[in-house]
């Protein structure tokens, strides 16, 4: 098989936290991302889901090089990125782009749309001034905005339109991979649907690969063929879309799916629900063993207290599903 577009291996990103000791060394380490591995094929869309604080945004930022990795590797078409110098990174910046959550904060309020879109084109050396202008107009058209609004400022657009500008900017360098960090969660439902449809259409049209980060499983289901579930800095399950929603294999995935309210009163009032007890533990003091075990409804089912002592490894089964859990499969 050919090299995947993106290969992430044992990637970790730790932050110093809390007070420092007399020597200046941090007393505590926050393991935001702690040993994550996955592959992403060209043109594929992988969803990364989990609750706040599980490390999904940190993972995204470490992959695109906004944070240096603490350990582990990120390979893009076989080239190791984490050890590259700033200048060596440059060609990959064009090919790996990012869309951020907050369309209000991710655009410079003092730049017009024309300037916002021209900047990446100029930096990546994509054409002369006139060509770049035409390209900016074409980008606006591609994301469903009126090219005549190219001289407007971000505040003149609504939230959904601003997110379209952010998408146009990400498309400017003709990337192979777009890392989308909660791109629709700040939008209203009716607008959210428009942006989801746009992202699906653009992917088809330009052959893009997405690493799509979201807390909303239903959104991910619409855009991604494969889904990875994160909990406290680790991936606990990876499966194809159909398999994950039909038969979630990790107890955390099961609880997460069952917690989503269903927009149909009849279904919502009769379905069985797994309500987890307790909060997500602090990543500064993660539980021993499986980090999910204090909230896990099945923790008693594994003999020998392994859940509390031994961290489960992400294992791949015959169908290619991955799961990190001590429970017998299918139980």
């Amino acid at each position: 098989m050919s090299t995947p577009l993106l290969e992430v291996r044992n990637l970790a990103r730790h932050f110093p936290a809390g007070e420092r000791s007399w020597s200046g060394a941090p007393r505590q380490v926050l393991k935001a991302v702690d040993g994550v591995s996955f592959d992403l094929e060209r043109g594929e869309s992988l969803g990364l889901v989990g609750e706040s604080g599980c490390g999904k945004s940190t993972l995204a930022r470490t992959i695109v090089g906004l944070y240096p990795a603490t350990s582990g590797t990120v390979r893009f078409e076989g080239t190791e990125l984490t050890s590259l110098s700033r200048s060596a990174w440059r060609p990959y910046r064009r090919r790996i782009q990012m869309i951020f959550q907050d369309p209000y904060a991710s655009l410079d309020p003092r730049q017009t749309v024309a300037q916002i879109l021209d900047e990446p084109l100029r930096l990546f050396g994509m054409g002369r001034r006139r060509e770049r202008r035409l390209r900016a107009l074409a980008l606006l058209d591609a994301v469903g905005l009126n090219p005549r609004h190219v001289n407007r400022y971000p505040h003149e657009f609504s939230g959904g339109q601003r997110q379209r500008i952010g998408i146009a900017r990400a498309l400017a360098g003709e990337p192979d991979l777009i890392v989308c960090d909660e791109p629709v969660s700040a939008l209203d439902v009716s607008i959210q649907a428009q942006v989801i449809n746009l992202l699906a259409e653009l992917r088809e049209r330009f052959g893009l690969a997405y690493l799509f980060i979201a807390h909303d499983l239903a959104v991910v289901r619409h855009l991604c063929e494969r889904i990875a579930v994160m909990y406290l800095g680790r991936v606990v399950e990876v499966a194809g879309r159909e398999a994950l929603f039909r038969s979630p294999a990790h107890p955390y995935t099961q609880a997460l799916l069952s917690a989503i309210p269903h927009p149909d009163p009849e279904v919502e009032r009769t379905r069985e629900r797994i309500v987890l007890t307790g909060d997500v533990p602090s990543p500064l003091a993660p539980p021993t063993g499986c980090t999910f075990h204090p909230r896990c409804p099945h923790r008693g089912a594994v003999p020998g207290n392994r859940c509390a002592t031994e961290p489960p490894v992400l294992l791949t089964d015959a169908e290619g599903r991955q799961r990190a859990c001590h429970l017998e499969p299918g139980s």
Binding site: A200, A218, R221, P263, P265, E266, T277, D279
Partner: protein, 330 residues
């Protein structure tokens, strides 16, 4: 007698850009123990409606008109002092963001006991005991210790539980919950919603649940009212309304929600365009520019909310044709 009767509620703000009609003629009734879901997107006026019920709209720039009758008494036009006796006592509220609505400088205990000292005249010691019990009731472990902690020492889910405990201290007849779980993760949201239902069963509290999340409404509300651009476009019992929406906006909203079942990867139905500028509303139906069913008449004249069989009402002459007309708001 209805617990709450809102008639022709109007809230407008005078701004540099002109008059913004945030709430424009809203009628609502609520019976004791009932849950009403107030649904709409950002800027639809749902939160402003809630604040107006509580008398919390600052004036100026806000102007509130209409009638709000709560337990038989008119609330609009009351003095702040009179309203303070009702707020937190007979009528309580839970806000979206427990971080900004709890005072960061006071301990949890101080903020809770204040409510009972003020409304029930309890001594601080007696109030403290009651508050510890209240925290226990909303599932907070070791409540005695929590009373001496500050809000920043608690997790988001814990803080929202404190807000709920605070709202329910005086056993209010009506609880106004504005996006109470929006800032929380789904697994914590599930816990909080279950808690609210349990508390409601125990105390017979009526709830107005303001939310944009149709899934939350489906599980919680007995009746639903849908707002768009400051007006009610549809209301009715939850089941029938979800099964057969009586307004194109409601239908569009329901179709836009990504689902966990059915065909995946297909394009979602979406509502074209975006909500209107409240300072420059179109003359007819505010939804007409985005509506696939709109007729000439919809763009010319503002449709009124028309009563329909089955305790429903809709402001769409196309989907709800043939109903009995209610009085047009003056």
């Amino acid at each position: 007698m209805a617990l709450l009767e809102v008639r022709d509620l109007r809230v407008r703000f005078e701004t540099h850009h002109g008059t913004v009609r945030a709430v424009d003629g809203v009628d609502l009734t609520l019976e004791p123990g009932e849950t009403l879901g107030l649904v709409g997107e950002s800027g639809s006026g749902k939160s402003v409606t809630n604040l107006a019920l509580l008398g919390l709209i600052p004036s100026p720039p806000g102007v509130v008109e209409g009638s709000v009758r709560f337990e038989g008494e008119e609330l609009l036009g009351r003095s702040d002092e009179e309203l303070r006796r009702i707020r937190g006592n007979r009528m309580a509220m839970i806000f979206q963001d427990p971080m900004t609505s709890l005072n960061p400088l006071l301990t949890v205990g101080r903020q809770l006991t204040e409510v009972l000292e003020l409304h029930k005249g309890l001594s601080r010691r007696a109030a403290r005991a009651r508050c510890a019990a209240a925290l226990g009731e909303v599932g907070i472990p070791s409540p005695e210790e929590r009373l001496d902690q500050y809000p920043h020492e608690l997790s988001g889910g814990m803080r929202q539980r404190v807000m709920i405990a605070m709202g329910l201290l005086c056993e209010p007849a009506l609880l106004l919950a504005d996006e109470p779980t929006t800032a929380l993760d789904v697994t914590i949201q599930a816990q909080i919603l279950e808690l609210m239902q349990e508390v409601q069963r125990r105390h017979g509290t009526a709830i107005i649940l303001v939310t944009h999340d149709l899934g939350v409404v489906a599980g919680m509300a007995d009746r639903v009212a849908v707002m768009y651009a400051g007006r009610l476009v549809e209301k009715g019992p939850t089941g029938p309304l979800f099964a057969a929406p009586g307004h194109p906006y409601t239908r569009g909203l329901l179709d836009s929600v990504p689902r966990l079942e059915g065909a995946a990867g297909e394009a979602l139905a979406s509502i074209p365009g975006s909500p209107p500028d409240l300072a420059a509303l179109p003359p007819g139906c505010a939804f007409a520019p985005r509506c696939s069913e709109a007729l000439e008449a919809c763009r010319a004249e503002r449709p009124v909310l028309v009563d329909l069989p089955g305790a429903r009402a809709s402001a769409c002459p196309v989907l709800a044709g043939g109903g009995k007309k209610t009085e047009a708001p003056a």
